[in-house]
Amino acid sequence: MNPRLPIIATAVVCLIIGLALGWLRLRHESPGTTPMPVVCESRFTDHEGVSVRLADCRGKPLLIYFGYTFCPDICPTELGYVARLLGALGPQAERVLPVFISVDPERDTPDKLAQFAPLFHPRLRAWSGTPEQVRAAADAFGVFYDRVQPAGSKPGFYLMNHTTTIFLLDAAGCLVGKLDSHLPLDESLAMIRTVL
């Protein structure tokens, strides 16, 4: 037996592993290649008390926004923007499912969400879940949030700092775009129309 065979074999194996890892990484990082569905197993309760998971929404493009109903400014701004997008889409808006996920499940009970969602759009769904489920969903989207208590505020009072991105998912559940209210409406509409 050739004494160099084990060395060559090891080198070939390493090369194959290296190439495979490189290919996986490339696939993961290039937005142009096949997008993967967002994996989120969290179970939520919507504002009508219905149990729902992200995977249940396949078949329709989704606009997903993480926020909290206590938010007096940013969340209304972004949800108002979502409502304007849906309005501008006209009848095509029926194909899009707008979803608000609360990062403040402690205060945002389904009852609260039921009062909140219709303020913005009759078809807006609002989801709440356990803190663990919400955290898992936020992680799946790369959403950051934390609780802050302003100096001098009453005990129990808090605000949430949070990411303010509106995520666009296609009907297969793949993340295809990130929107926010600073984008001109036409630009966001163009992105949405690509997945209708």
Binding site: T69, F70, P72, D73, I74, P76, T77, L79, G80, Y81, A83, R84, K112, Q115, F116, L119, F120, H121, F144, Y145, V148, P150, L159, N161, H162, T163, T164, T165, S181, L185
Partner: protein, 152 residues
């Protein structure tokens, strides 16, 4: 007669002082859910005068307290809301209190803010003193009276 003239002369500066150089343009608030405890209001603060001023506090009867707040977006795209002590209003300038930035934060709402209704808001300026305006409540997702009139 001399006294009367003197009184008139002395009263002129008082009249001038009452005529404030600060105006609060198009104050508006967003509608809230029936059980909401916080709300946001916005306005354009306009200083037509030659001296600097600043908004230092505000009160209104529909909320237990009103704070002056702003938003700062960090490098991760996370929005952080912080209280500001005052909103500077330099001479001949306008400070825009608008969604995503400076706003009146209404804490402890005593009643929900319903579209089409209004409420008085008293703003206290360092120089101009107290100015009370009527705040119009617009839709929850509104971007303000100017955007509404453009049909946005």
């Amino acid at each position: 007669m001399n006294h009367l003239v003197l009184l008139l002369i002395l009263s002129i500066p008082c009249v001038v002082a009452v005529e404030s150089a600060v105006r609060i343009h198009e104050p508006w608030a967003r509608a809230t859910a029936p059980t909401a405890v916080a709300g946001g209001a916005f306005a354009q603060l306009i200083n037509d005068g030659a001296s600097d001023d600043a908004l230092v506090s505000a009160t209104c009867e529909v909320a237990e307290s009103v704070e002056l707040h702003t938003h700062v977006k960090d490098e991760r795209g996370v929005m952080r809301m912080t209280e500001v002590e005052r909103i500077a209003l330099p001479a001949h300038q306008t400070a825009a209190m608008k969604p995503g930035g400076l706003h009146f934060m209404l804490f402890g709402l005593k009643r929900p803010l319903t579209p089409g209704t209004s409420f008085p808001l008293t703003c206290r300026f360092a120089q101009a003193g107290a100015i009370t305006v009527t705040v119009q409540v617009l839709e929850a997702g509104s971007m303000g009276p100017a955007a509404a009139s453009l049909g946005k």
